[in-house]
Symmetry: C2
């Protein structure tokens, strides 16, 4: 058994918006205004136990293999074999079924905290793989959009799964993300199950043009290009019906000056990108349209800074 | 009738590689080593006539509506109505059915030459639309990958068709394109007809990740990312069988150190990207594998400089 670097660490892992309209399963951005806190402690016996789950979701599985944080730390233990085990406490700050990357944040927070205890910490791409194994418990598949955004922070692209490569895409100065979370639950599995197994070739071309335009617009601070290209013609039309008032919320955001507006991950949370100046009006319009559906909301305006999960205690 | 700026102009429009593996119908790069020369003269009567077609392809349609250059200039005349007409002579430097954007180059060269005669020349995005109308004659659909690459030069992304937006993507220093044209004819219409009308969702995700990775790799000069992402998992598998020795040519290029290797446009020309140092070995491997198929080749190594079509006389 090696000697732990410390006995206990707490990590904060931010919420995240997956897909970002044009990057289904490959792009996400962090929402630092909320997140999960995961505390990991060394224990002498091997393996993982979940000591407690608290916060806005307390009905999480306690069996480590069925818990995103537990499974992620098990993946870390299996790969690195430090010779000791971990106890995990999870403080959820992200509601379940909100589309804000809650399961990803728990997995990321757990591996970041556990990594701080290791005498030889793993690198970020290794942590990404461990967290991916954890999130697969919740989503039924491996996709890195939320994981990479929460781990690295900012607007993040992930290419590849077995050998992932990560790019933090620059966000033009003054661009903000408006996040509006309506108080309803939408199971990720349901939002994924309704998706067709294929994409029309013409929609494929349109969506790839939008993706490429968005990324080039980010690298060149070209807000006109971002506005023209931040539109999901593949996934959003299939999921819109799952969110009451979707089209009105989107229209409200766009009429208030948003650069684009779509579903956060699998929903029901919606996001818009806008300039700093128009963000308050965009937020007000989105809140108003959800209210017309009798849905109360939480809202945040964030900068998408490239600061991801970190040890906070 | 307005007064022409001059009576006669000749434009050079470069060949181009469409698709670039991961940007089907939306991305292309110019190949300045060869191209079409189009000479346009003012004539007093309205409309367009094709005076001559010369060069490596002399069997082009003489009816302006059926000729890519003629149709493009007709689109220009219909939009701008200068009050005079144009006579067109086409010197083809790009073989027909080569996959090197020959029809696009004729359309681009024609509008660039005609534009030089106008008292109030149109801007480049207007010229792009006119040339698109011309190329549709040859390809049966409007897609800007070859047109925009030939018109603007360099590695070019086009977003949107009715209101196109163009981005010249930076090419990392030292990166070269190796172009190998086997001496066979492949009808673009045939290469397009074999494509399935839809894309599997998993392939869609994979290809979009590759596209996004390639573009971000270009903006950040990240050759490792370019090498990991320059792979077409959607179109190339469907077209590979149309090109004798395709898999051997590709394998030869990759084993010689290429960053990626795929089909130029609809084929049969193939291209590879590589560093300056490995380009000669990549070229030799591709030529060798085509030779094993008893196919002679023409080859070029180009820099993808952002210099597009221009008036040369």
């Amino acid at each position: 058994m090696s000697t732990p670097a410390r006995q206990r660490a707490t990590a904060f892992a931010p919420a995240s918006v997956g897909n970002v309209a044009i990057g289904f399963d490959i792009m996400g951005f962090s929402v630092d205004a909320l997140g999960d806190r995961v505390t990991v402690s060394v224990r002498d016996t091997p393996g993982v136990e979940i000591l407690a789950t608290r916060g806005v979701a307390d009905e999480l599985p306690r069996e480590p293999r069925n818990n995103t944080a537990g499974r992620a730390v098990l993946a870390l233990l299996e790969a690195l074999r430090p010779g000791f085990g971990f106890s995990i406490e999870i403080d959820k700050g992200i509601p379940l079924g909100s589309g804000l990357g809650g399961s990803a944040a728990s997995a990321v927070g757990a591996v970041v905290a556990a990594n701080a205890l290791l005498p030889q910490p793993a690198g970020p791409l290794e942590l990404l793989k461990f967290a991916l194994a954890g999130e697969a418990v919740a989503s039924g598949g491996r996709h890195a959009d939320n994981i990479a955004a929460s781990l690295f922070g900012g607007l993040v692209l992930t290419v590849g799964i077995d050998h992932p490569r990560v790019k933090q895409i620059p966000v033009p100065a003054g661009v903000r993300a408006v996040i509006v979370h309506p108080h309803m639950f939408l199971a990720t599995a349901r939002a994924r199950a309704i998706l067709k197994g294929s994409v029309e070739l013409s929609d494929f071309v349109w969506q790839t043009a939008n993706l490429a335009g968005f990324i080039s617009g980010c690298y060149t601070s070209d807000l006109d290009m971002i506005r023209a290209s931040l539109e999901d013609v593949v996934i959003e039309p299939q999921r819109a019906a799952l969110i009451p008032g979707f089209h009105d919320v989107r229209r409200g955001a766009m009429e208030a000056g948003a650069l684009g507006c779509s579903i956060s991950g699998a929903g029901p949370t919606m996001f818009a990108l806008s300039t700093d100046a128009t963000a308050p009006a965009v937020l007000a319009a989105m809140r108003r349209e959800f209210a017309r559906q009798s849905l109360a909301t939480d809202e945040w305006v964030v900068e998408m800074r490239p600061t991801g999960a970190r040890v906070i205690g």
